[in-house]
Symmetry: C3
Subunit: 259 residues, 3 copies
């Protein structure tokens, strides 16, 4: 796990993020603090060229429009053609039919390395659940474990379900990460930037479950450090970037609480 983080810092993988406009700045700063190199290109004219040379590609559906959807289709196709891993963050899939269809279309066009979402999104993506409420989950991660396993086996990928305790599976193995802090969901973009960190980690290891677990551990342990220095979600968001920057692989390994 610590090796993955060390490799990201050593190789500074280019992470092509097709992500939403709400979290773009925070996501870029999270990637920079972790040692990766963010690049955000939203046009169908260019998304393919960047995906082909990126270490990893993130597709986050948060504020997708017909214009950026086209860029996502191109990026996923070209990433797959060039053997680059891509990560799907199916924001608000379930209650919103248009993006739910888009998520399935992208998954069918090329299997992702990792799907990262909240429990409601993972349940909905598997065809079940009642759907969350926008970006909020109305289900616990463990309730989505069966759905996560089914998705993982269907697409040959890893599924990371975020929550107070994160649950990750590649369809066979299951890992739980019991780190984090209640302030994390009070800052917009922490979940979305986890997707970006996962994409960064998939650039340095072929084991997608390891990549997703390392990214999850990094963000949630940094969250614990940040919380100890914060007066509220404002100072927490700032301290989180500092913590990601300074956290050593050894500190991470020691603080990680895997189950």
């Amino acid at each position: 796990m610590a090796d993955v983080i060390t490799s990201v810092r050593a190789s500074a993988p280019l992470v092509h993020c097709l992500t939403n406009v709400v979290v773009s700045q925070f996501t870029a700063n999270v990637l920079l603090a972790a040692g990766a190199a963010p690049a955000m290109v939203h046009s169908a004219e260019e998304a393919g060229a960047l995906a082909r040379v990126a270490g990893g590609v993130l597709v986050n559906l948060g504020t997708v429009t017909s214009v950026t959807a086209q860029a996502m289709r191109v990026a996923v196709k070209e990433a797959a053609a060039a053997g680059r891993p891509w990560v799907l963050d199916p924001v608000a899939v379930g209650p919103l039919p248009w993006r739910t269809e888009l998520a399935h279309e992208l998954l069918e066009s090329a299997p992702p390395a990792v799907i990262r979402g909240n429990p409601s999104e993972i349940l909905a993506l598997d065809g079940g659940g009642t759907g969350g409420r926008g970006v909020d989950s109305t289900d616990a991660p463990v309730a989505a474990l069966a759905a996560a396993g089914a998705l993982a086996r269907r697409y040959g990928c890893t599924v990371a379900v975020s929550g107070p305790e994160d649950v990750l599976t590649d369809g066979t193995r299951v890992v739980r990460v019991a780190n984090g802090d209640p302030l994390l969901p009070l800052v917009t973009g922490t979940g979305c930037s986890l997707g970006a960190l996962v994409a960064a980690c998939t650039a340095v290891t072929d084991d997608a479950l390891l990549a997703a677990t390392a990214a999850t551990g990094l963000l949630t342990v940094a969250g614990e450090i940040a919380a100890s220095r914060s007066a509220g979600p404002g100072t927490f968001a700032v301290a989180l970037i500092d913590a990601l920057y300074e956290l050593s692989p050894d500190q991470l390994a020691e603080a990680l609480n895997l189950r």
Copy 2:
């Protein structure tokens, strides 16, 4: 007033924001700190579905394009059909004819609960004034009171005019909020996030003037607390989020300076 803030925290209303890309992150963090649940969906394909289930809808014209204008039309129509309140923030209406026409079209399609703007925007929306300079106002709030009252009566809504002293009216009653700090306009998105807070408050009370006054009080009192802990606009923006998070309804009631 304190009850409105308490209700927002207790019910965490979903606030659908069709807002500009400059302030999206800050707006989401303001809503989260205040206890609301932000959701930002920009496509015509989805804006209606979210508006129907949102507690309140914000339409902010800051960086509107032909693509997002279409999403705004759908969101306003569907919010009205489902009986959901919507709030208009007519950013830079006046000097820019295209969005000025769009603002009138949206207002005619369904009356909003609240219009929140700076004095120049409110004057321009009422058909008068010389127009501001982009997002800046060149007029004082009190100079826009007659225009605010006329708009309020025309659409049966509340109009909130922001400035050093905020002036709010439902066409009959007038409230002035004399809280705030000169650092507030030095952080981008404080006015825009006030519009989002107003939308959050309209989700928990049918009295739109009360909702707008509570939101204005919350943001401006939090601004005073933040200013007392800041060295400049950078630290102020961070402290503002913390202050919104920690401010108790009792503290708010005590610090409010209504006239």
Copy 3:
């Protein structure tokens, strides 16, 4: 140099930014802290009207799409017609052919006051270099000096090449600014907001080389102050805004390290 900064604060020039969605918030806050008035309008329907009345116009290609490219074309044309200076930030020009062509089209339609980029972007814009890696430069500023001079003479503009030591030229004179801090490139948008500060400074002086040097000095000296108060890139970004706000023209003149 100090006079330029004083003039920006005294006249608060309106800076129309057609910039990327990742850095919009940070750019606006940088401009506000420096005393300028940011305005961001992205639609072809409105970009021209704002460009005609702006003190300076920034065109940053970061997340350009076919929709915003059209707004850029209109803004550059109308800025030129009204005699307003415009600044090009050719983000990721080189490896991405579509925006490279767009950059050349914009430059041919009307000469800019300033082109600000990293060495790889400047080399690529001049038709040479191997191209950088997304927003990263793989070349040193001094390596791009010949290309910068050629571009400056071709368009009759100033070219500012950012890096550990910034190099600026109008095709005849060359200035080097040896201020800054390694934390600057670890915060997304510091380079992009330098482009915006350059646009603000071109609004108050006809000497584009002086404007670009003043803006570069302001940001890099503020970066040094911020670094002395920071624990990492999170606190640094916040302290940078405070430093821009409080830095006096005299302090700037004293700390500047020109070569």
